[in-house]
């Protein structure tokens, strides 16, 4: 389909569903049903089997017409990780059940992967899934580092279904209803003071076999799809130049001459160069993907971004001096949204420490790059 034809379809849709007079949820459901949610998804599942790079055409037209946004951050795990995973490994029935409410935000998803004893070595999860006589499953275990678990209706869950199999072969992947009996979510307070993440305790949680995604024992392969998408999602979409963490610091530099020093200027420009190089790299990666030449996965972008965020936020504190010694709020609370721009420099610095841990530590990403991209010999047997 040509881009002008697609514009025609969007306009036709808008003619039938005027944003001004259509209730938000109704509009989003209709948009999904019209295949305009993610045009690269299959027909009937919110898309039209079109190339992914046509999505901006749709988004642009809709935005221009004042259509409601889909606030991406909140649905990040669903949209960025659960959806591509189930698209690849799920049944048509599962896709029909889960995709639309996921996309419209009616149902938030979270991820039950990491455990206290299984962080970087994720394949060693010990949460047990035992199959009952009726074919359904009963799950017991503890998960950690789980964002949005407290507001999620569904979770993607990795559990050990066969403890006697080699560790990568004894895992099965499920969708877990977070309202099921036995699911307990406890906030996990972080160094920022807030509780963005959670511990989730699973005690005798029943999961119907219909909620299993992929084959029994194939959980690791399914989880890898989720992880690769997680890294792409955390690597982030390219932002315009001057946006993001570096933009914030540059604006402070411009606005406050009293903070400037000669050495500070060079340090800031080093960071600007690194940020811009990272931004262009992400843009180039997206171009390659759009052209059907998938380069190495998002690991590189994610790796570079986390360290950049850490360096920029660390620099911001030393630039601000006095002011940086003050924090805004240590109260233990749920972040209503992650707007780091409105918090203190100290919050940005502390929150950025997690960037090189969440979604695969930098150490794991370096292993992935070294082994899968550069073809260096594997060292880890596990």
């Amino acid at each position: 389909m040509r881009s002008d034809e697609l514009v025609g379809q969007v306009r036709a849709f808008l003619a039938e569903h005027a944003p001004a007079t259509t209730e938000r949820l109704e509009f989003l459901r209709a948009r999904f049903d019209a295949g305009l949610a993610w045009v690269n998804f299959p027909q009937g599942l919110g898309g039209m089997d079109l190339p992914r790079d046509l999505q901006p055409v749709v988004d642009g037209e809709l935005a221009a017409a004042g259509a409601p946004d889909v606030p991406l951050p909140r649905v990040g795990i669903g949209l960025g990780m659960a959806a591509p995973t189930m698209l690849r490994h799920g049944t048509v029935a599962q896709l029909r059940r889960w995709l639309r409410p996921l996309w419209t935000e009616e149902e938030v998803w979270c991820q039950l992967f990491s455990e206290p004893g299984a962080g970087s070595d994720l394949a060693s999860v010990s949460t047990r899934a035992v199959r009952e006589a009726d074919g359904d499953w009963v799950v017991d275990g503890q998960k950690v580092w789980t964002s949005t678990a407290h507001e999620a209706q569904w979770a993607v869950l990795l559990a050990r279904s066969d403890p006697s199999a080699p560790k990568h072969e004894g895992l099965t992947y499920f969708a877990c209803d977070m309202s099921a009996p036995g699911v307990e979510v406890r906030p996990l307070r972080q160094i920022t003071g807030e509780a963005e993440f959670n511990e989730v305790f699973l005690t005798g949680v029943r999961i119907p076999d219909a909620h299993r995604i992929g084959e029994v024992g194939q959980g690791w392969q399914v989880a890898r799809t989720t992880l690769m998408n997680e890294r792409v999602a955390l690597g982030g979409d390219p932002v315009p130049r001057g946006d993001g963490m570096i933009g914030l610091v540059v604006r402070k530099w411009r606005a406050r001459p009293e903070l400037r020093t000669a050495a500070g200027r060079d340090a800031l420009l080093r960071l600007w160069v690194a940020a811009e190089a990272g931004r262009l790299t992400a843009q180039r990666l997206r171009e390659e993907l759009a052209a059907g030449q998938p380069g190495p996965d998002g690991s590189a972008v994610k790796y570079a971004n986390s360290h950049l965020n850490q360096e920029i936020s660390g620099f911001e504190l030393e630039l601000l001096g006095d002011e940086a010694l003050r924090y805004d709020d240590w109260t233990m609370r749920r972040p209503s949204r992650r707007d780091w721009r409105e918090r203190t420099s100290g919050y940005r610095y502390l929150r950025a420490r997690a960037n090189s841990i969440e979604g695969g530590t930098s150490e794991i990403l370096c292993n992935v790059i070294a082994e899968r991209v550069l073809g260096l010999p594997r060292e880890v047997a596990g």
């Binding site: 990491s114 206290p116 962080g119 970087s120 070595d121 060693s124 950690v144 580092w145 996990l188 307070r189 972080q190 160094i191 003071g193 020093t261 050495a263 500070g264 340090a267 850490q310 660390g314 504190l317 030393e318 001096g321 006095d322 940086a324 010694l325 003050r326 924090y327 805004d328 709020d329 240590w330 233990m332 203190t344 100290g346 610095y349 502390l350 420490r353 997690a354 090189s356 841990i357 530590t361 930098s362 150490e363 370096c366 880890v380 047997a381 596990g382």
Partner: protein
């Protein structure tokens, strides 16, 4: 030549202080305290200052002190950094240094004995050499004005305030001291406001403040060394214990090399901190260089150690219930306190005639 080793006396002092801190300020206690309404452990400070004699280490015996030296005071600072102990040792040491520069009016002896906690009312971020702040003025013996972001003012009995060229002692009760939500919860700052507060002049401001800032930068370097040491030790212990992929995390070469490099940096930090303390103790003409060098080196090493500590602990190091964040916040605040490393490099450039 300045000795860079720890003497036997210093080793014994370290052992005493470490014993007290292990008993009274394990990290769980520190973490619980920083969120309480009483963030400073004044009882612990009393023990250290009066009973162990830490408050008067740098004060000669004939002026009421313990007749030790800044070398010993630096050992104490190192241990207090190692424990991120919530005690006002930095503020107290800086005030003592300020009083030492002036004519003794009895106050020095009381401070040295730990009977009175005097604290210099300057922002913690004050850069040595940057000139005195002019935010408080004296009208006769009455002071009016404000000083923001003062460390250790919360538990102080007496504030030493620079105004109109003098250093003035003001009773804590005569000032409005309000706690600031601070990045470093183990050393919360306070904003001090004076509205015609009655004051007594105790010294000339310029030499007193200069002496206080010099002593502060030297002791802060040892505190930073202590922070780095704890972070390295805690990380080593963790990576030896923590298993992933069927082997200790500490057996992975990339982790080993980073920790080896951190150890080299900490070893260097120890040499620079010792050198600064030795110079200050002996009144060496190289003290200004030694102090700026120690700050330029130890500040970044403490931050690096604390950041690696969080990173190599993985998810657990990012949680509130693990002590790593107390050290990270202290290290980062210390990197700004009394001038950043970049500022101290700039100072060094001037001292060494590495011209602009």
């Amino acid at each position: 030549m300045i000795s860079l080793r720890y003497s036997d006396v210093e080793d014994e002092l370290r052992a005493s202080v470490r014993r007290v801190l292990a008993d009274r300020a394990p990290w769980q206690a520190v973490l619980a305290r920083v969120e309480s309404s009483d963030p400073y452990d004044t009882g612990l400070w009393q023990t250290l200052a009066a009973d162990v004699g830490c408050a008067g280490l740098a004060v000669p015996q004939d002026r009421g002190g313990a007749g030790g030296s800044y070398r010993e005071a630096a050992v104490v600072a190192e241990e207090l950094g190692r424990a991120v102990a919530p005690v006002p040792h930095l503020g107290a040491a800086m005030a003592t240094a300020a009083l030492l520069s002036g004519q003794d009016c009895g106050l020095l002896a009381k401070a040295a004995a730990g009977e009175v906690l005097a604290v210099l009312a300057l922002p913690l971020s004050t850069r040595p050499g940057a000139g005195l702040p002019g935010t408080v003025t004296a009208d006769g013996e009455r002071l009016t004005g404000a000083v923001g972001g003062v460390a250790d003012a919360l538990p102080a009995d007496l504030l030493l305030v620079p105004a109109n060229g003098g250093l003035w002692a003001v009773s804590r009760e005569a000032a409005d001291v309000s706690e600031v939500i601070s990045l470093d919860m183990t050393r919360p700052l306070a904003d001090v406001t004076l509205a015609g507060a009655r004051a007594t002049r105790v010294a000339d401001a310029a030499p007193a403040v200069a002496a206080a800032l010099l002593a502060g930068t030297v002791l802060l370097a040892s505190e930073q060394l202590g922070i780095a040491e704890w972070c390295l030790d805690a990380t080593l212990a963790y990576v030896k214990r923590r298993q992933q992929f069927g082997r200790p995390v500490g057996s992975f070469q990339a982790v080993k090399h980073r920790l080896a490099q951190l150890w080299v940096a900490v070893t260097q930090a120890r040499a620079t901190a010792r050198y600064a303390a030795g110079c200050l103790a002996e009144g060496d003409p190289d003290t200004a260089v030694a102090a700026a060098l120690a700050q330029a080196h130890c500040g970044p090493v403490a931050v690096q150690a604390a950041e690696q500590c969080v990173q190599l602990h993985g998810a657990i190091g990012f949680t509130w219930e693990h002590p790593a964040h107390l050290y990270l916040k202290r290290a980062k605040a210390d990197a700004i306190a009394l001038g950043t490393a970049a500022h101290h490099r700039d100072v060094l450039g001037d001292l060494l005639t590495i011209d602009r």
